[in-house]
Structures are given as structure tokens and as C-alpha cells.
Symmetry: C2
Amino acid sequence: MTVMGFIDENKQQHLEELKEFLRIPSISTVPQYQPEVQHAAQWLADHLRTTGMQHIDVVPTPLHPLVYAESPRQDGRPTVLVYGHYDVQPAEPLELWSSPPFEPEVRDGNLYGRGTADDKGQLHTHLKALEALQTFYGRLPLNVKILIEGEEEVGSKSLWQFVRDNQSRLASDALVLSDTSMLAPGVPSLTCALRGLNYYEVEVTGPARDLHSGLYGGAVPNPLTILARALAQFHDKNFRVTVPGFYRDVARLSAAERKALRALPWDETDFRNNVGAPALSGEKGYSILEQIWCRPTFELNGLWGGYIQDGAKTVIPSKAYAKFSTRLVPNQDPDEIATMVEAHFRKLLPNTVSCRFTVLSTGKPWIASSTHPIVQAAATALEQGFGQKTVFIREGGSIPFVAEISALYKIPCVLMGFGLPDENAHAPDEHISLDNYFGGIRSAALFYERLSTLQGEPQ
Amino acid sequence: MTVMGFIDENKQQHLEELKEFLRIPSISTVPQYQPEVQHAAQWLADHLRTTGMQHIDVVPTPLHPLVYAESPRQDGRPTVLVYGHYDVQPAEPLELWSSPPFEPEVRDGNLYGRGTADDKGQLHTHLKALEALQTFYGRLPLNVKILIEGEEEVGSKSLWQFVRDNQSRLASDALVLSDTSMLAPGVPSLTCALRGLNYYEVEVTGPARDLHSGLYGGAVPNPLTILARALAQFHDKNFRVTVPGFYRDVARLSAAERKALRALPWDETDFRNNVGAPALSGEKGYSILEQIWCRPTFELNGLWGGYIQDGAKTVIPSKAYAKFSTRLVPNQDPDEIATMVEAHFRKLLPNTVSCRFTVLSTGKPWIASSTHPIVQAAATALEQGFGQKTVFIREGGSIPFVAEISALYKIPCVLMGFGLPDENAHAPDEHISLDNYFGGIRSAALFYERLSTLQGEPQ
């Protein structure tokens, strides 16, 4: 029997354990779920016991706990830092789920439920890979540090603090994580770039109180109209962001990079069908992959104000609200962009309203080389695990921790994603392909074995 | 003892009864309040027994019941149709009320609660005036028909049907109602024009489902952005509505009308303070009173879509929604305007989204002469009731029933309003001045007495 055989024998048990993890609604953005978030952290600590870890801590923070674990130190072996997050996005709108978001269910070769892809299901592949190595060999072939946070969906504040406080303790030869997607089903993919993310919220106030639109309408500033007018001016007719300076530091794509993107086995028709809009729209002059991977965006994420229930209410509201975000690419600086966006927004408002502008979070973009031996080891492991050639891709999403660790330790970051483009992360009917989940466990185990043969740095 | 003395003696009892009426949360726009709406109708029927009515019916309709009552027929006496509505607006946002909206409370000479001004408190003045006349004289001095609806805040559909079905039964010499405001405290006012109201709702759909803004952002149509861009184009820089044809039929103000408006004892500073916005804004070239009384508007009443709870969610929503309305003035036609508004909205949308456009209700504007003997009788009654000269004003709000009855029966409509500009109708802390409530009862009784001396038409 090989480790692979051992992993394949335990498929059903792995799946049942993952379902248990998924049943915990660890929604980090909504305060009332705090006990469930705590429960998920404790669940992880309990289930790390079989993975060969020596120290396992649930680390309290001002918001949601971190889970940190270390294997027994083996000198001369390389050290890998495994990252994941156990928190999930809210499940709303609930009525659009085919099965309840926190009652995981297998249909047509996919496991459905909030967190299946982002990130509980993907994180779980690493725990089961390590468990298999530990059980099969009686010890892990390398040094492992595991860091799992509960605030990925709310800005990772506690994670940053923990990294700052434990900088030498966390030192490793590589970071590995699975929180991204494969380019297409059956195509193992390593992600070599991520966009950064700034998230903002605004409150625009016109009248001091809600007014009757008959008695006042025509003479008073309507904050809904004023907010709509401001937000309407954030893109020009080519769908370029109008914030002055926004593109100043954006890295230009080389001809070779654009060619490599065009050569990828990526199906535009699948993408269009998956989006399901009457037509697509994006920044003029760029391909779809360039738009979603290599170009920065300004995107509205929420908008509300006035009467939003059934029926009619003839009100001019006092306040209007919006949540929006900017996705950032190399070499944009998140803090500079936040300043520019706020200045632009304020400039677009007339003097008839006041405004509260809040930057909820900022996060750097990241880009890395695909030629590092550790990245190449990962590519080979994925190829073996899935039986297909690995491709190097970018992703438009944001994992702020990657940019942070990359800058701090100057180590390679290995992003082996087991999601798929239609996985519905952050949306109803989120799911993970069972082929990818089980292939992920195999690939992670192969990667750790392969990594253990490379030379580690003294820690 | 005079009738006036009799009315003054019963002040406390009138107030306690009104409070009872106000405690019923008869919110017509929200389906779950249906039993409370029914309760309010029954309460009215019970309390009409003391007002000299012979027939009292609670009339079932497809939505909310009507209350209809008639006094015993006295030939040779004029007939008045008294109108009111017992339904109220939703009370949200609840946290901005100083006292609970359905627990009426007197503070500083005002009675606070949802419906105090719009319209339960004002309607109640007529019931108590009739009760006083009936009790004091043993019979009413004229023929009275009372029609009270429960759908004023949702488009009055059942009322129209009832009027069409009972056209000859409802025939009268005058319509009287109190659902408007006085120009200023202590200034008795008769309203001689009202704006019409069309109310619309739109649903704009881009992607077929909610998408992750990282994985898709940059290449897909965001319905929030597209909705904001469309709504931003409904006004030009002078805050004129851009809908083609919108102003085509608008009656121009004569120099005499503009002069009369300027001569009214109306305090712009009070208006500005009452609105409480950093500055006002309205259509260029018109005074504030012209803007809110004589000019049509396009107004956003609600806007929503995406993630609107605490924290952050990086979503591109599938759908975005808006509720908006147009206030109409003579001689705009509501149906024509609805067609124009829909066409304009659809034209502003790109082909990347689909749209569901719904006209929730339409309503005609109304304007009338102030020189009719019945209107003059009302002016005199108000002057006696409040001890101040009556002014003739317009109002920017909409009472669709007035336009309908005016067109159908060609009779004068007497709008004796007892609200005040800062009464917060449709907003938190709605209230009525107790001086106006008690003065209203006196004025209504004086009006009915005066009206009874005029010649009635044979019914």
C-alpha cells in the first residue's frame, strides 16, 4: 500500500468529517455568529490532533480566534507554513440555495454548502494530506506550521497582529495554501498573482430627517439621487475608473504576458454562460482574463436607502448608503488608492449633503515567479495528483495574507487551488467538485513529500 | 351654551378617543398588518354611531375595507361628502421616534404618533364636529355622507371601484376633507391645488446570480452601477427632469399667481430649518413654494441591492432595485407620464442588463377656484374657528380622490388642513398640534352649520 492508496481508502471518512466542519455557520461578518465562529476554531484544534502537530493553540484575539499548530521540530528538514481560513461569507440570499447552506449535500459529483470552496473544503485537503502522511509513516517528512484564521472575510486584522507578534516563530521556507480556483475542470493550476482589495462604506446625509416627498419634493436634496449621481461618475464610457491617479502605478502587461494569457486553455463561452448576463462589460482594450486578473476595478457591492420593503412609501430619506471596493494590481499602493478614492468621492458630492467615508479594509496585490524550485515541486505534485499538466494562472480575488507573507519573509507562496470558476464562492449554491477535493488531498500529500526532499533553511 | 362651548367642554374626551384610534397600527402597505387595518375600519364604524349617521357599513374590498355612512335624508338641505383615510404609512425607521409610533403621547402642546396628522387625527375632527352638532341640536343641520378608505397610502384602488359602483349614491354638493397642512402655525389655510403622483418600481438584472467581485469583477455588468448611472441621468444640471415630453403639458404660472405666492405669510427660514440639510436644491428659476407646489418632480424613494448589512461582502449582485415617483401638476396626464418615464428609463439601460418596470399607482393633479360660495363658507368658518384670516394655498402632496371626485361630480372640494409643515407625516415623530386638532373640530362644526344655510341641489 502507498500513501495514495491509503488516502483513497479513507475518502468516505474524509468527506463525512468535512461535512461536520461545514455544518458550523462560522460567518465572521455578522456579530451574532460569534459563538459559531469560536466553535469552528475549536473544531479545527480538535481535528488537528491527528495531523502530527505537537503544539495546537486556539489563540484569542480582539475579534475571532486564530488556530496555530506546529509539528515536532526536525532539524535539517524544510519548513512549510500552511495557511487557511475557517470563516465564511454570509449565506444570503437564502431563498436562492437549492439546499440549506449549512447542511452540506452531495449532488452530481459536487459537495454543496457555504464554505465548501471558500475555504473550509480546500483547507481540509491539507489537514487530511498531513494526517495521511503522519498515519502512514508515523511522522511527518518535514516541519509544518499551520495558521488558520477566522477573519479572512472581514479584513484579517487579528492575523496581521499575530504575524507581527510572532515574526520569527512563523519563519518558514514556503507558504502553502488552497483558497483559489483551477482554471477549468481537470486542469491543475498554480496561482502566481492576486489582486489586492480595498473596501469602503459611505453614508450620505441630506435632510436631517426623512421627509414626505409630496410636501418637500422639488426643493430639497435627495441623498439617494446625489449618491447615484456620484457613483455614476466613477467609470468613463470605456469603463475605466475615473479616480485621478488610479492607474498611475499599474504594471503594464508585456507582450509575452498577454500572449501567455491567450494561450491558456480557458473557455470564454463557459465564462459567459456562468455569468449568465445578457452581455458582458468591462474596460475597453483588454481581454476578459486581463480584465479580471490584471486590471484594477471599482465595484459597487451594496447600495441602500429610503423605503425598500413591499409597496410604496413617498419618502425622501435623510440618508443613503453604499459599500464599494477597489481591486488592486501590481504596483498600486492600497493606502494611496484609498486616499484617492475618498478624495474623488467627496469631490463628486454637492454642498447640499454631508458624508461619512469609511475605509473598512485595505490589502496589497501580489505577484510571484513560477520558476522557483518549490513552486516547480508543487506543479509536479499537482500533475501527479490530477494526471494533467499544471498551468500557471492569476486570480482576480484577494488573499491579503499572501502579499503580507511574501513581503515579510521573501519566500515563495504556493497557491494550489482546488476550486472551480463556477463554484459560487460568496453566492448561493457554493460547492466543490469531489474530484478536486480528493485530488487536492492527494496533491497536497505529494507536494509535502516532494518538498521534504528539498534543502531547508536553518530556522 | 353654544355648540362651540359644548365642543370645548369635551376636549379631553375627544383626545382620549383619538389616542385609542391611533393605537391601531393600520399600516396598509405591509400585508402582515391586514388584521389591524380591518380593526381600524371596525373601530370607525363603531364610533360613527354618535355622529348622527343612519346607515353605517364596513364595505369589504379585495384589499382593505371602506367605511361608508349616511345621515337620515332631509330634503331641501345641502349634502356634503366627507372623506378621510384610516390607513397610515409604515413607521420605520423605528429608532428615530422619541416615543413609540403607536403609543400616542402629548408633549409640548403636540400629540405624537403615526397617523396623528396623516390622517387619523385630522379625520377625527370631522367626526367630533358632527357628533357635537348631532348631540347639541338632536339632529344634523344638513345631509352628510361619510366615506373613509384604508388604501390611501397604497393607491386607493378599492376606493375608485366603490365610487364607480356607487356614483349616484355618492352625489353631493361638496366634498370636504382634512388631510393637508396649514401654511404656518395659527394661519388657517384652504388648499386649492394638489400635485398628482405616479409611483414606480424597477428591478434591474445583470448576472444570473450573485458573483464574487474578485473572480468576476472587471468583466461583468454590475446592476448597481448600471442602475445608479440610469437614475443619475433623470435630472439635468438645473435639476430639471430629463424625461422627454415631461414638461410638455405643464400649466405655466401667471405673473399674478407668482405674485400671490410671494405674498403668502410663509417663512423660508422655518422651511430650511425644518429640512435641516446643509443646503436646499431644486429646479432652477423657481421659488421654493413654486418648486414644491407648482412644479413636477422625479424623486427616488428607495434604492437597494447587494450586501447591505454590517461589515463587508465582496459581491457583484445579480439584481438591483429602485422605487421612485413623479409628482404631477396641471395639466400633466398620469398615464402619459408613466409611459414616458418607462421609455426613458429603458433607454438609459445598456444591453448588458434586463429590466422589470412596474407602475405601482398613478394619480391626477387637481386645481380649483377659491371663489365658490362653499369654499368661501369654509374660509369664514376657519377664520372663526382659529381667529385668524384664512389663506388660499397649494400643496405638493397628492390626494388622488380629490382629483377624481372633482372631475366626476363637478363640485367644489374643500381641503381644510389642520396639519403643520413640520408635522413629520410619513416620517418619525409625526404629530399634530393640539391647538389645530381642537380648532379643527370647532372649524368643521362651524363649516357644517354655515354650509347648511346654502341652497342644496336635489340629489
